[in-house]
Symmetry: C2
Subunit: 107 residues, 2 copies
C-alpha cells in the first residue's frame, strides 16, 4: 500500500528522496551504473543494511533500476531510471548552494 501523495510538491519530493542516504546514493549514481559493493564504498559511512533498505525503496518508487546477473559471486547493478536521473536538477542546486555556503563560511 502506497502512502498517499501530499498536495505540496516539495513534500512529494521530500517523501521520495528527502533522506540523507538516498541523496548520497543518487549523487553517486548520477555518474553512472554502479554495483552494490561500489556504492557501499562510495557512499561514505553507509551500512550494508541501510544501503539495501534505501535501494529497495528507491526501486519501489521507480527511481533506480536493479539488475541481477546470474553469476557467482553475485553481481547486482544499480542504475538511475529516467525519473531518478531527473533529480539531477535538485542535486545540482544543492551542490551549487553548498559551494556558495562554503565560500561564505570559509571567508
Amino acid at each position: 500500500m502506497k502512502k498517499d501523495i501530499p498536495a505540496c510538491p516539495v513534500e512529494v519530493t521530500l517523501m521520495l528522496m528527502g533522506d540523507k542516504w538516498k541523496i548520497l546514493i543518487i549523487r553517486d549514481l548520477l555518474d553512472g551504473t554502479k554495483r552494490f559493493g561500489e556504492l557501499k564504498r562510495s557512499v561514505c559511512g553507509i551500512s550494508q543494511k541501510m544501503l539495501t533498505a534505501n535501494l529497495r525503496t528507491m526501486e519501489e518508487c521507480m527511481l533506480v533500476d536493479r539488475k541481477v546477473y546470474a553469476e557467482v559471486p553475485p553481481k547486482v547493478e544499480y542504475t538511475l531510471t529516467e525519473t531518478g536521473y531527473s533529480l539531477k536538477t535538485v542535486l545540482d542546486a544543492m551542490a551549487e548552494w553548498g559551494e556558495h555556503y562554503k565560500r561564505q563560511a570559509g571567508a
Copy 2:
C-alpha cells in the same frame, strides 16, 4: 563547537538543511517573515519542541534571523537571511520535480 564542513558540496547542503522540518520551515519562510505561532500552524504536524529546536540550529547556521519584540504577550519573528533565502533555488528544483513526479504517478 562546529562540525567540520564536508568536502562534498552536496553533503554541506545536506548538513545545513537536509532535514524534513528544516525544508518545510524554509518553504514557509520563503513567503516572508512569520511569527512563531504562524510557523507552528503552517508547518503541518510539527511540535513546538521540534520547531524551536530547528529554528535554533538554523539561527546558528545563519539561515534565519530571530527578532524578539519586547511585548506582552511575547512576539518573535523569524525571517530568512540572505543565505537562507538563497536556498530558494533548491526548494524550487524540489517543487518542480515534485510536480513532475505527480504528473507521472497520477497518469
